[in-house]
């Protein structure tokens, strides 16, 4: 039986040689993402801003402009309406109202009445109604940030203990690279950033570190094995040895996620999208960012001394 081999047995790509180019790409991604985050910003969902989200489904394709005019004529601030997956499925977002709970409730009632009136004679299926108060939104934002920073620290500490400091720092830089890239992706597409997408960013961090650790593991092993090899050559060898695995795993994971993206339903799309983009970026970064960083941090000085060589 002939088995499928996506990557030939012995590869010898010069990844390290391309590192200047890779740095330029990475830098462009980082600067672009930060720029987008600063000037365009994330489209924060109601989880973080507070407000009300209503998903409705109707039988016939609704007349969006009329509905938009009707709802925005209620005097409840800007109400955004967008199609959600299909033309007869709508997502309606109402901002946080100034005032106490009865004001919020009255606002939602008003919106519902207006929607029902707009589809007179037709049954409106309220598939989802979510209300998040401003206080909770704030808390969720803080808790999310805390979870992110603590998991970074936890991962850094773990790698520090298991490897040397250069590995830990390089891994965390790669991690920030990927997380910022995913955030930038969300700023670019302008898709709603909510709790689930935050979880996706964290997961990308987890996956990216997983990928990086696998390459580092091999680097560490080769450092012990080939005491005289130049560092650049050694890093290249390590990446090439792990290339087949990196491609296989990333490919299966992305395949699975594509299934989830296509068939998993609208609600989970944003989450899946973030993961797919993040995993592609994470694969790139573990090859082109994390490993070359070890060169910069000089995990081993090139031209090892004669003494060391004889000692082995």
């Amino acid at each position: 039986m002939k088995l499928l081999k996506l990557v030939p047995e012995e590869t010898n790509f010069n990844f390290i040689g391309w590192r200047t180019f890779a740095y330029a790409v990475s830098l462009a991604i980082i600067i672009g993402s930060l720029g987008l985050l600063a000037f365009k910003g994330l489209n924060l969902g109601i989880d973080f801003t507070g407000g009300t989200l209503i998903e409705i489904q109707v039988k016939e394709t609704p007349n969006l402009p009329t509905l938009r005019d009707d709802l925005n004529g209620l005097g409840l601030g800007g109400i955004s309406i967008q199609e959600f997956g299909q033309p007869n499925d709508l997502l309606i977002r109402v901002g946080q109202q100034n005032g106490d709970e009865t004001v919020q409730k009255a606002a939602i009632d008003k919106v519902r009445t207006a929607i029902d009136a707009n589809f007179s004679g037709e049954e409106v299926d309220y598939r989802r109604v979510e209300y998040v108060g401003p206080q909770v939104g704030d808390e969720l934002k803080k808790a999310g940030l805390l979870a992110f920073l603590l998991s970074m620290l936890g991962i850094l500490a773990y790698i520090w203990v298991r490897f040397e400091w250069q590995f830990g720092v390089a891994a965390v830089i790669a991690l920030f690279h990927d997380s910022i890239g995913v955030l930038g992706f969300f700023a670019l597409t302008g898709e709603s950033f909510d709790l689930a997408t935050l979880a996706a960013v964290l997961l990308v961090a987890g996956y990216s570190i997983n990928d990086t650790v696998v390459v580092f593991d091999r680097v560490r092993e080769n450092l012990r094995k080939y005491k005289k090899m130049l560092l650049g050559e050694l890093l290249n060898k390590s990446i090439n040895q792990m290339l087949s695995r990196t491609i296989m795993t990333s490919l299966t994971t992305v395949l699975v996620l594509v299934m989830l993206y296509v068939f998993g339903g609208e609600v989970i799309k944003g989450f899946t999208e973030a993961l797919i983009f993040g995993i592609v970026l994470g694969t790139f970064s573990s090859i082109y960012v994390a490993a070359p960083l070890l060169m910069i941090f000089k995990v081993r000085a090139d031209k090892p001394k004669a003494k060391e060589a004889t000692a082995s």
Binding site: V132, Y158, I159, L195, L255
Partner: protein
């Protein structure tokens, strides 16, 4: 690395069987499951995975108990009580004013200090008295006193919320405390929580007061519903309070909707005495700081039964009776968060998740087999058991499966393969260096395992932080991810390896296509 002792084989097989056993109830219809749970011994698993509200449809409410209001109220009660007691003991004071969590009093004559202190000390055991200067004291709830009050308020609120929801006949509500001052209410299958929100939005504090007609002391003004918000002055002391009611039901009097109620012994007696002494005078029925109505007492009411009239609609009388039966909330509730998912969306999500999951699963199986041949087939079998284990553990723990949770499981399918890929790629490498089959497999496993552990530990760290700080949907995701990481490590390191080892033992192969 390749040899397995018998007890280890037994253990691995036992774990797999356990996973299958606990997954089976998920394929059985709910009715059959219920009768299984009743008729079969307890150790036979009969629980299916607990679907989250986003999958089965339903309403999730996060309520805040306004604890500060209770302390404020108790402090002002304390002050009122002190005023009454000091007066009845004829102890004069020049000033009696509220402070945070208590009040401050200055005596007119410091010779009465001892008597006054005795009274102040007896007011409430959760307070302490501070002497600010000779004859001036501050009485305030202690920190532990406030904690006691808060804990009590919260548990009482939960109880009342439960009773009110039970009265509406909602199926299997989950009502839980969250943090120090919050209550989570989950109402499966409810796609319009408006009525419940309405019911929880009222404290339903009912009191009866005499209307103040002679401008006496110790009175306060409240808006009246009858008189279009005009205020009416009533005596502070309540004749009756809501907790003296034993029953309440909607009724009609002269064609108008009213609430009729029945009083307990103590309440009936008090009501009888007061009405006898105040015939021809009006009294006020106060609900949540609003006078519902202020009828005249025409004759003494001594039967322990009476009605509340007002400008009610039929719906209002039935709601009010429900609230009175369930009791008053000790503190107002605010809705902080509401997430309601209708049954159609829930069903669609489950269907979509199933479809995506199965396709992803099939794709990965095929991919493994065409990439790694026989070993890929072993890995595919292990992946099947991995799924059984994940669902088995979810059913056993009765953890809640949410939509992001399904995402977590599907992602695990992708990642579970990683451990196998690492091992197989390593075996390929070892074989290329010219080792014998046995030694290549042996050192392949040996060398790959530390990488697998390192890689999974980092993901596990991220999942644990997600679980600790995430809420709702994120938590559901973290749970399945954590379970998935653990079971996939088991299936790759133990189960696949066991199959490889048995294959080596019984087939005694000399070569392998990998």
């Amino acid at each position: 690395m390749i040899h397995f002792s018998n007890w280890k084989i037994f253990l691995i097989v036992a774990v797999c069987v356990w996973g299958v056993l606990f997954t089976v109830p998920n394929f059985i219809a709910p009715e059959t499951r219920a009768s299984m749970a009743e008729n079969m011994p307890g150790w036979i698993p009969s629980q299916a995975v607990n679907l989250g509200l986003d999958l089965q449809g339903g309403s999730h409410l996060l309520l805040q108990v306004e604890l500060g209001d209770v302390i404020k109220e108790q402090s002002s009660d304390l002050l009122a009580q002190a005023r009454t007691e000091l007066r009845s003991e004829r102890i004069g004071y020049t000033r009696l004013s509220p402070v945070p969590n208590g009040f401050r009093v200055s005596l007119r004559d410091s010779a009465q200090a001892d008597a006054a202190k005795k009274i102040l000390r007896k007011l409430d055991e959760r307070t302490e008295i501070k002497t600010l200067e000779e004859g001036t004291y501050e009485v305030a709830f202690t920190e532990s006193g406030i904690n006691d009050i808060n804990t009590q308020t919260l548990s009482q609120s939960i109880e009342i919320v439960r009773r009110r929801i039970d009265e509406t006949g909602t199926n299997e509500p989950v009502i839980q405390r969250q943090g120090d001052d919050r209550i989570v209410v989950q109402l499966p299958g409810l796609d319009s929580p408006e009525r419940i929100k309405e019911l929880l939005g009222k404290t339903a504090k009912l009191t009866f007061h005499l209307v103040d007609q002679d401008g006496g002391i110790d009175t306060f003004s409240l808006p009246s519903r009858d008189l279009q918000g005009q205020e009416l002055s009533v005596k502070r002391r309540a004749i009756l309070t809501g907790d003296m009611l034993t029953n309440a039901s909607p009724n009609f009097q002269n064609g108008a909707p009213v609430v009729s109620f029945r009083l307990n012994g103590q309440g009936a007696k008090r009501f009888c005495d007061v009405t006898r002494n105040n015939v021809e005078k009006p009294f006020a029925i106060v609900l949540d700081n609003e006078i519902v109505s202020a009828p005249n007492i025409n004759e003494p009411i001594c039967g322990g039964q009476a009605i509340i009239s007002g400008r009610f609609t039929v719906q209002e009388t039935s709601d009010l009776s429900l609230l009175l039966r369930a009791g008053a909330l000790p503190a107002p509730l605010t809705i902080l968060e509401e997430r309601t998912v209708g049954p159609t969306l829930g069903r669609d999500s489950v269907e979509a998740g199933k479809l995506a999951g199965m396709l992803a699963f099939a794709l990965v199986l095929v991919f493994m087999v065409i990439s790694y041949g026989l070993f890929g087939f072993f890995a595919a079998i292990a992946l099947c058991f991995n799924m059984f284990l994940i669902f088995g553990i979810l059913s056993w723990l009765q953890a809640t499966l949410t939509l992001p949770g399904i995402g977590g499981i599907i992602l695990t399918i992708g990642m579970a393969v990683d451990a196998n890929v690492l091992i197989f790629e390593r075996i390929r490498e070892e074989m290329r260096t010219g080792r014998s089959l046995l030694s290549a497999i042996d050192s392949g496993y040996k060398n790959a395992i530390s990488t697998i552990v390192d890689a999974n530990m980092t993901t596990l760290i991220a999942a644990i932080f997600l679980y600790s700080f995430g809420s709702g949907p994120v938590k559901g995701f973290a749970v399945t991810l954590t379970i998935g990481i653990i079971t996939s490590m088991f299936s790759a390191i133990m189960l696949t390896r066991l199959m490889v080892s048995l294959w080596l033992k019984y087939k005694r192969p000399t070569e392998l296509t990998i």
